[in-house]
């Protein structure tokens, strides 16, 4: 996208999307030739297209990250066999009874009990990655929460069983899952990556 082009934006007005800006660019393909004899073999196909993605019932989770809070969900349906189960990642509906879950704030629970369940450190990434390499993927367990959350550790070296705390990109958030990360308990605020704080 050139400097003169405006990033595409979308607003919701009533029940409709209102779009502004360009959602695609046409860039010509170039021929693919065989080096040995110059014969045409194919063509490159550039694609520059913007999707419009709804977070739907998960939107509160992503909004809360930008405010320094970690939300989870709990089934409070009295008729559910697994009533009371707390889920992180956040689920809109209970997977057992399909009732809408109650949103619960587990920011303090995370600070007090979050532990590394497993991890991996990798230099390899894919296109569109924005995380610094090497990436330290961590899967985090919380006391009393049935499921385990994938995240990353931008500071420190993970170990299974390590106590960690959540950090939040509350300044210039990206509004995606990378606004949440975990660091070893005791990490000073001065060591946090730019834009991240310990939250509320």
């Amino acid at each position: 996208m050139s400097q003169n082009e405006v990033l595409p934006t979308v607003e919701v007005v009533g029940r409709r999307y209102v779009l502004k800006g360009k959602f695609h660019r046409i860039v010509p393909g170039t021929p693919i030739r065989r080096r040995s004899d110059g014969k045409l073999v194919g063509i490159t196909k550039p694609r520059d297209m913007t999707y419009i993605h709804s977070y739907g019932g998960e939107a509160p989770f992503f909004e809360a990250l930008t405010e320094g809070r970690l939300l989870a969900s709990r089934c409070d349906n009295p008729k559910c066999e697994f009533k009371g189960t707390v889920y992180e990642p956040f689920r809109i509906h209970c997977p057992d009874c399909l009732a809408k879950c109650t949103i619960v704030d587990i920011t303090d629970l995370a600070r007090e009990t979050a532990k590394v369940h497993t991890f991996i450190i990798t230099e390899r990434t894919g296109a569109f990655n924005t995380l610094k390499i090497p990436i330290r993927f961590v899967n985090i367990e919380f006391d009393g929460v049935a499921t385990i959350l994938m995240s990353y550790m931008p500071v420190g070296t993970p170990e299974i069983g390590m106590r960690v705390v959540p950090i939040f990109r509350t300044k210039n958030p990206c509004y995606d899952i990378t606004d949440l990360a975990f660091v070893p308990l005791g990490t000073p605020e001065s060591d946090l990556p730019e834009g991240f704080t310990f939250g509320k």
Binding site: I32, R34, V41, G42, K45, R47, H53, Y55, E58, F62, E81, F82, T85, Y87, P89, P95, D96, H117, T118, F119, I120, I121, T122, E123, R124, T125, G126, A127, F128, N129, T130, L131, I135, F137, N139, A146, T147, I148, L149, M150, S151, Y152, I160, D176, I177, T178
Partner: protein
């Protein structure tokens, strides 16, 4: 869910027997700059016709419906690829459908074809799978594969699938492998076995004469996984023809009975809640009573170390086919060795060893064509094709390739097809001077596991010589 109703554990009962009559594969390569996908599919169908001494037109005249497996439209930048291939194979206007379940696409395609014949809808179906992984560069390919993870909760983290699977490998390594050097060597032995077997497979593109040190010195991908612990990315196609009994014996002298079953689990591994282990016919709960003590940290099931989807697929498939103990009732298997550790995990899910003891399947020599300790045939040889590490992983085709490879053993034609010097030449390769016939002589029953990523979908396909059925229809 973590508890099943009796209805959900019903063992499928098909309305009539289904047979595998023939199959075929294209050559597999990292890239095919000068062949379109349709050409690879034609290669596969041509081979299927050749194997039963028919012209392609004759074989096609039997096909009633078609099932097309292709994992990633994005890779080929072609939605409705099944319509394109169906047209190029000249099978329009017969009914067809596209199937996608990630890495399990090939097996799922067979599942659909199997059900179509069993139901009586069709007497003869084509199951064709393909994948192109060369129409985007590697980084972009990594992003597309990572798009098969949860796009809001996982994909933005690195855009790399290694981040989603390798955390499972890490936990298995620590809890069951106990980070032992000996376990690291066992992992490497799997890569050595599969790469070396692939040297003798003309269809394969990953054959390499490597040893344990080569694996241990290959670049780190995500500790403890090194490059040679990981599977290939490939391009190619594979197909199978499934029929009813009457058509089977018309088309082929020795058609094979086929059973296909499927399981699944959550896409996000972290969502897998603790539950009771569904037991295979030869297992008891007693086997696992002190599991958490023997393997501290391993008491959550399936946790990050078991693939419940594989276990469920085998739960149904073994009972459909009458398999009591896979080690005794099966003669060979093709497993989804996306990584050396996931191969070991699969041994447990399939019941070749109890959970936690998968390494013994390799260390005992059971998994080899020839047991290196005894010089005798391995008890249950696996991945004689070279598997995903040595032969190929063209995602939509892999599950079908595995079944065709198994069938070649059961037909007694594995040596003939893999040893044909003309085939090596047609693929631009030289048949090795020390080419080995890796046939499993007298094989009667086989298992193939087709598996998606972190185990969101898995199918189990059992082939059985009709004279050696374990269960009456």
């Amino acid at each position: 869910m973590i508890k099943f109703s009796d209805r959900q554990l019903k063992i499928p009962k098909m309305m009539r027997p289904v047979f595998l009559v023939t199959g075929g594969m294209s050559e597999f390569r990292r890239s095919f700059p000068e062949k379109k996908t349709e050409e690879l599919c034609v290669d596969a169908l041509n081979m299927a016709a050749e194997l039963v001494d028919m012209s392609p037109a004759e074989l096609k005249s039997y096909i009633h419906t078609a099932y097309y497996g292709h994992f990633a439209d994005h890779f080929g930048d072609q939605l409705l690829g099944e319509a394109v291939i169906h047209d190029r194979l000249g099978l329009d206007p017969l009914g067809n459908i596209g199937i996608k379940t990630g890495g399990a696409t090939g097996g799922s395609t067979l599942w659909e074809g199997f059900k179509a014949v069993a139901s009586g809808y069709s007497d003869c179906v084509l199951c064709m799978g393909w994948e192109r992984m060369d129409e985007v560069p590697t980084d972009e390919g990594n992003h597309l594969i990572a798009s098969a993870a949860d796009k809001d909760w996982e994909t933005p983290l690195g855009h790399i699938y290694a981040g989603y699977y390798a955390v499972m490998a890490q936990r298995y390594w620590k809890i069951f492998g106990k980070e032992e050097d000996s376990f690291r060597q066992t992992m490497a032995a799997i890569a050595v076995k599969h790469r070396n077997y692939a040297v003798h497979n003309p269809f394969a593109h990953g054959g390499k004469r490597i040893d344990i040190d080569d694996v241990l010195e290959s670049p780190i991908v995500a500790y403890p996984l090194r490059q040679l612990d990981c599977c290939l990315m490939s391009v190619g196609a594979a197909c199978a023809i499934l029929t009813d009994e009457k058509t089977a014996f018309r088309l082929c002298k020795n058609p094979l009975r086929i059973y296909v079953a499927a399981g699944s689990h959550t896409l996000r591994v972290g969502d897998r809640r603790h539950m009771e282990i569904p037991l295979l016919p030869h297992e008891t709960m007693e086997m696992y009573k002190d599991f958490g003590e023997r393997f501290p940290g391993g008491d959550r099931y399936p946790g990050f170390t078991g693939f419940l989807a594989t276990r469920m697929a085998c739960y149904y498939a073994y009972r459909m086919a009458g398999i009591q103990n896979p080690l005794e009732d099966l003669d060979l298997a093709e497993l989804h060795d996306a990584f050396t550790i996931s191969d070991i995990q699969s041994y447990e899910d399939c019941g070749f060893r109890p959970y936690g003891e998968g390494r013994d399947f390799v260390e005992s020599g059971d998994c080899y064509h020839t047991n290196p300790h005894t010089g005798k045939p391995g008890r249950l040889p696996t991945n004689l094709s070279g598997g995903l590490i040595g032969c190929m992983h063209a995602v939509g085709a892999t599950g079908i390739m595995q079944v065709v490879e198994c069938a070649l053993h059961l037909w007694g034609r594995h040596g003939e097809i893999h040893g044909d010097p003309k085939r090596w030449e047609a693929f631009g390769k030289t048949k090795p001077d020390d080419w080995k016939d890796l046939s499993v002589r007298g094989a009667k029953r086989s298992l193939a596991i087709s598996h998606a990523g972190v185990g969101s979908h898995v199918t189990a396909t059992i082939l059985c010589h009709p004279n050696h059925l374990l269960k009456e229809d």
